[in-house]
C-alpha cells in the first residue's frame, strides 16, 4: 500500500484528505507543520507528500527545500497546496519537476487521479 503524508496546520483539511485518500486505498499519515512533517519523513519516507504552503513553525516551502536538499535524488511526488495564488510560489514550484502546485480547495477527484497516474508511471 502506498504511503502518503499530509502536512497541514488545519486539522479538518488533513482529516478530509486522509479520509478521502484512505478510501482510495492509500495508507495516510498526517502532521501539523513542517517540523512535524520532517520528523515523520525521517521515520519513514512516504511515497507522496501533500503539504500546505502557509504553516506555522515551518512552511511548506521550507519543508520542501529541506527535503530536496537532504535528498537530492528525491523522486517522490510532492503536492503543494495553497489558497493564495502568489506568482513566486508558482515560479518556485515550476523549477522542481516533482513538485506540483494545487489551489485550495483541492478537487479530491483530481488529486486521486493525479496520485494514481503518478504511481502508475513510477511503477512502470
Amino acid at each position: 500500500m502506498k504511503k502518503i503524508l499530509i502536512v497541514d496546520d488545519e486539522p479538518h483539511v488533513a482529516l478530509i484528505l486522509k479520509q478521502f485518500l484512505e478510501r482510495a486505498g492509500y495508507s495516510v499519515d498526517t502532521a501539523l507543520n513542517g517540523e512535524q512533517g520532517l520528523a515523520r519523513i525521517a521515520e519513514q519516507m512516504p511515497d507522496a507528500l501533500i503539504t500546505d504552503v502557509q504553516m506555522p513553525k515551518m512552511s511548506g516551502l521550507e519543508l520542501c527545500e529541506k527535503l530536496v536538499s537532504r535528498n537530492p535524488e528525491l523522486c517522490q511526488l510532492i503536492i503543494l497546496m495553497t489558497s493564495r495564488t502568489d506568482r513566486d510560489i508558482r515560479t518556485w514550484s515550476e523549477n522542481h519537476p516533482y513538485i506540483l502546485l494545487m489551489e485550495k480547495p483541492l478537487s479530491l477527484r483530481r488529486l486521486v487521479a493525479l496520485l494514481s497516474h503518478h504511481f502508475e508511471t513510477v511503477d512502470d
Binding site: L15, I16, M102, P105, R109
Partner: protein, 724 residues
C-alpha cells in the same frame, strides 16, 4: 454508506475492560462475515487464537443474534479445549462486540461477571457513538468533496489547464462540458446551439453507452424547442416530472437542461446533463450549478460574438483565422480572407441615427452569411467592417465570391423610415500564406487592400499583393501616422506666414498674413503640407494638427502684440473639415482665443470649399458661433468645386479666396480669366471681399487690381517666411 469498524477503535477501551476480571482478557469485533478480529497482547495472542479456532462461528452467531444484552457463553465445555469464556454485546449492526476471557465463565466470580457485563455494555454504547460520529464525518467528507468539485468547476481552479485564454470558443465550451462529466458525477453532458452551428457532446463512461447518446439525439431538438419556449432550467428525474405532451421527448434517462441566454429572450443554446436511469437524481444544487455553468457558457460565447449582428466579433474571428493559419501551415490547402467595409456608412448613421446603422449592419451581416456556404466564417471586425474567412478557396475563387458578394449587397436597398439608401461595399482580398506569422498579417493586409479599394470609389475591390504600387503608396501613408505623431512630440512643426495685401487703395491696409504649416523632417529638411496633409486627413489626425497650429499661432501673435501694442496684425488660420466636425472643437477654439487675450477680430479662419460643403450644417454652425465673438471667415480654394455658387448663399463667410489655379493662368487662358472675374463679381454682389491666391508677378497683380479684386497673396507680393 457502509463503514468498517476497526479493532483499533477498541484500543482505548481495553484497559477498562481488563479491570473487570483477574484473568487475561481482551476485546474483539465480530464482522458480518463471522470473522472475529481481536486485540491481544502478543503473549496472550496464541491462546486466544486457539480459542477462536474452536469457536463454531455459526453456533455463535445464531446465539448472538438472539441476544440483546451481553451474556457469557462457554466454549470448550468438552474439556479438550483451553478454558475460555466469551462475553458479547450487541453493538452497531452488523458488528458484535466480544469480550474474551482466558478462563471458563464459572471460574469468574459473580461480582466480576456482572462488572464485566456492565463494562462491555458501556463500551458497546461508546462504540455505537464512535461509529455514528465516524459515519457523520464520512458523510461530511463526501459532502465537502462534492462542494470542492463544484468550487473547482465554478472558479476554474484547474491546475493542469492554466492557460484558458488561449482556447477558442469550441475548445472552451468543450472544456466546460468535460468538466461536468469529470467533476459533477454526470454520465453525459452536451451543448446544443443550432444558431451557432454547434453541437458538443461528452460522455463519461468508456466505452460510451450508446443508449444514452442515442436517447440524447432523439430528444435534443424537442428539448431545445422546449427551452426556447420556457427559457427555464428543466429537471427530469422521473418521466412524470414533466408533461410530455410531445411524444418525442419520452426518455427514461434523468435530464437536467439549462438555457444558455446571451441576453433577455436571446437563447443561444442549451446545456444538457444526463444520467442513466439507475444513476443519481439531479438535485437542487445540481440545477443551480447547471445554471451557473450555462451562464458561464453564455459569457464564453458572448466574449466572441458581436451583439449587433450575432456574428463572431474581432476576437472570435481572429481565433478562427489563427486556427486556419495553423492548419494551412500543415496542409497544402488554399484559403483566402475578405475584408469588407460598407461605403459611406457614416452618412446613414448620421442621417438616420444609430438604430438605423445597427439595423443595416445586421442586414448586411445576414446578407453575407446567406450568400455564402455555411463552412465559411463571417465576423464583424469593426464599426462597419466585416471579415470573411474562405476555407479551401484560392485567390481566383475568392475574387469570384467577392464579386458576387458586392453584387448582392449593391442590389440591396436599405429602407429606414422614409429614407432609402443604396448600399455598397469595398472589399480587400488576400490569400492566406503559410509564411504569415500570425493572424495580424493577413488581417492588416486585407484591411489595407480594402482601403486602397475605397480610395478608388464606391463598390470596388482590391487584391493584396506585397509588390503592389498602390499598396506601397498606401502603406507609406500609414507610415506618416507615426511620423506625424513623432514630429508633434519632438516639436518639429513650424508656423510660416505669407502676407496678404490690398490690391487697391479702397481696401483696408492692415498687416494680414495667412499662417502656413511646415514640418522639419528627421533629416532637417523643410516639408510643405502637400507631403503629410493627405495622410493626416486619411487617418484623422487633422484635428490634432489644427489644435496645435491654433495654440501656437495665438502664442506667437500675443508675443507680437505685446512687443508692439499699436500693431494692426491679423492672421488667417486654415482649418480642416475634420476639425470643425469634431465634438468639442468649437469650445476649444473659443477657449483658446479667450485665454490668449487677443481680440477675436484679429483672427480669421480659412476653410476649404469642399470641406464646407461636405459638412454643410456643421460648417454653418461653426462659422456662426465664431463670428458671434468677432472672428472672420474665408472660403478657401473657391471655384475648384464648381458646385460652389449654390452653396455660397448658405455659408456666412466674409471673404472668398479665388482658387490660385485660375489666377495663375488668367493672363493666358480666357476661361480662367473669366472665372476670376465672375467669382469676384458674384462675391461683391453678395457683399463679400475677394482674395486672389498665386499672385506670382506684377502683371497679374495689375490685372487683378484692375478687375477690382480686393486682396492678393503670392510670391509676386511676398514669399512665406517663418513666423517668429
Amino acid at each position: 454508506m457502509e463503514l468498517k469498524l476497526d479493532p483499533n477503535n477498541l484500543k482505548k477501551y481495553l484497559p477498562f475492560f481488563q479491570q473487570s476480571a483477574d484473568c487475561a482478557c481482551t476485546l474483539g469485533l465480530f464482522y458480518p462475515d463471522g470473522r472475529l478480529n481481536m486485540l491481544a497482547h502478543e503473549a496472550d495472542r496464541d491462546d486466544f487464537e486457539i480459542l477462536i479456532k474452536h469457536i463454531e462461528i455459526s453456533d455463535f452467531t445464531a446465539e448472538a443474534n438472539s441476544l440483546s444484552t451481553p451474556n457469557f457463553v462457554n466454549f470448550g465445555s468438552d474439556g479438550t479445549l483451553a478454558k475460555a469464556a466469551l462475553l458479547f454485546a450487541h453493538c452497531q449492526q452488523p458488528y458484535w462486540l466480544a469480550g474474551l476471557f482466558k478462563a471458563p465463565a464459572h471460574e469468574i466470580n459473580h461480582a466480576h461477571q456482572s462488572k464485566a457485563i456492565n463494562i462491555l455494555k458501556n463500551i458497546a454504547a461508546c462504540l455505537v457513538e464512535d461509529y455514528t460520529l465516524q459515519l457523520t464525518l464520512s458523510g461530511m467528507v463526501d459532502e465537502l468533496a462534492v462542494r470542492y468539485e463544484e468550487l473547482n468547476l465554478i472558479y476554474g481552479l484547474d491546475d493542469t489547464q492554466t492557460n484558458h485564454t488561449s482556447f477558442d470558443e469550441q475548445q472552451a465550451l468543450n472544456h466546460l462540458i468535460s468538466n461536468c462529466t469529470d467533476f459533477m458525477n454526470v454520465d453525459f453532458a452536451a451543448i446544443y446551439a443550432p444558431e451557432l452551428d454547434m453541437s458538443l457532446e461528452q460522455i463519461k463512461h468508456t466505452p460510451p453507452d450508446p443508449g444514452l447518446i442515442a436517447s440524447y439525439h432523439s430528444i435534443q431538438k424537442p428539448l431545445y424547442h422546449y427551452l426556447v419556449a420556457t427559457e427555464k432550467t428543466l429537471v427530469i428525474n422521473q418521466n412524470r416530472d414533466i408533461d410530455w405532451t410531445d411524444a418525442n421527448l419520452k426518455t427514461s434517462n434523468k435530464i437536467l437542461a439549462a438555457p444558455i441566454m446571451l441576453s433577455k429572450h436571446h437563447l443561444a443554446g442549451i446545456l444538457v446533463l444526463m444520467n442513466a436511469p439507475h444513476g443519481p437524481d439531479f438535485s437542487n444544487s445540481d440545477r443551480k450549478l447547471c445554471d451557473v455553468l450555462a451562464s458561464e457558457a453564455a459569457k464564453m460565447i458572448q466574449a466572441r460574438r458581436d451583439n449587433v449582428t450575432g456574428l463572431l466579433n474581432r476576437r472570435g474571428f481572429t481565433e478562427k483565422l489563427q486556427e486556419t493559419l495553423t492548419f494551412i501551415k500543415k496542409s497544402p490547402t488554399k484559403c483566402s480572407l475578405l475584408f469588407l467595409d460598407i461605403d459611406q456608412f457614416k452618412i446613414i448613421n448620421d442621417l438616420s441615427g444609430q438604430k438605423a446603422g445597427d439595423q443595416l449592419l445586421d442586414h448586411i451581416g445576414s446578407l453575407i452569411t446567406k450568400s455564402l456556404s455555411y463552412q465559411h466564417v463571417v465576423g464583424r471586425l469593426g464599426a462597419d467592417e466585416y471579415g470573411v474567412l474562405l476555407e479551401h478557396i484560392d485567390l481566383d475563387k475568392a475574387k469570384e465570391i467577392a464579386e458576387y458578394l458586392s453584387q448582392v449587397i449593391n442590389q440591396f436597398r436599405f429602407a429606414y423610415q422614409d429614407k432609402l439608401y443604396d448600399i455598397s461595399v469595398c472589399i480587400g482580398i488576400v490569400e492566406l500564406l503559410p509564411t504569415f506569422d500570425d493572424f495580424s498579417t493577413p488581417l492588416s493586409s486585407a484591411n489595407l487592400a480594402c482601403n486602397v479599394a475605397k480610395e478608388q470609389g464606391r463598390n470596388r475591390m482590391h487584391i493584396y499583393q506585397a509588390s503592389d504600387q498602390e499598396m506601397i503608396r498606401h502603406e507609406s501613408q500609414m507610415l506618416w501616422v507615426s511620423r506625424i505623431h513623432l514630429a508633434l512630440e519632438q516639436e518639429r512643426f513650424r508656423i510660416y506666414r505669407q502676407k496678404i495685401t490690398p490690391l487697391n487703395t479702397k481696401s483696408e491696409a492692415k498687416e494680414h498674413y495667412e499662417l502656413l504649416l511646415r514640418l522639419i523632417d528627421e533629416n532637417g529638411n523643410l516639408l510643405t503640407p502637400f507631403n503629410f496633409i493627405p495622410a493626416a486627413e486619411r487617418y484623422n489626425l487633422m484635428p490634432q494638427l489644427d489644435r496645435w497650429v491654433l495654440k501656437t499661432a495665438l502664442i506667437k501673435m500675443a508675443a507680437v502684440l505685446q512687443a508692439d501694442p499699436e500693431s494692426t496684425l491679423s492672421c488667417s488660420i486654415n482649418l480642416s473639415g475634420q476639425s470643425f466636425c469634431e465634438p468639442g472643437f468649437i469650445e476649444f477654439v473659443t477657449d483658446q482665443i479667450n485665454k490668449s487675450g487677443i481680440s477675436a477680430e484679429r483672427i480669421h479662419f480659412e476653410i476649404t470649399e469642399t470641406a464646407a460643403i461636405s459638412n454643410l450644417s456643421q460648417s454653418i454652425k461653426f462659422i456662426e458661433t465664431l463670428k458671434k465673438i468677432g472672428c472672420c471667415f474665408s472660403l478657401d480654394d473657391f471655384g475648384s468645386g464648381m458646385s460652389s455658387f449654390t452653396y455660397l448663399k448658405n455659408l456666412p463667410v466674409d471673404y472668398l479666396k479665388i482658387d490660385g489655379y485660375f489666377v495663375k493662368n488668367m493672363l493666358t487662358n480666357t476661361v480662367d480669366y473669366a472665372m476670376v472675374k465672375s467669382i469676384n463679381e458674384i462675391g461683391h454682389v453678395m457683399g463679400l471681399r475677394t482674395i486672389a491666391e498665386f499672385v506670382e508677378n506684377d502683371q497679374i497683380f495689375q490685372e487683378l487690381a484692375s478687375l477690382g479684386i480686393d486682396y492678393g497673396q503670392g510670391y509676386g507680393i511676398a514669399k512665406p517666411e517663418p513666423f517668429e
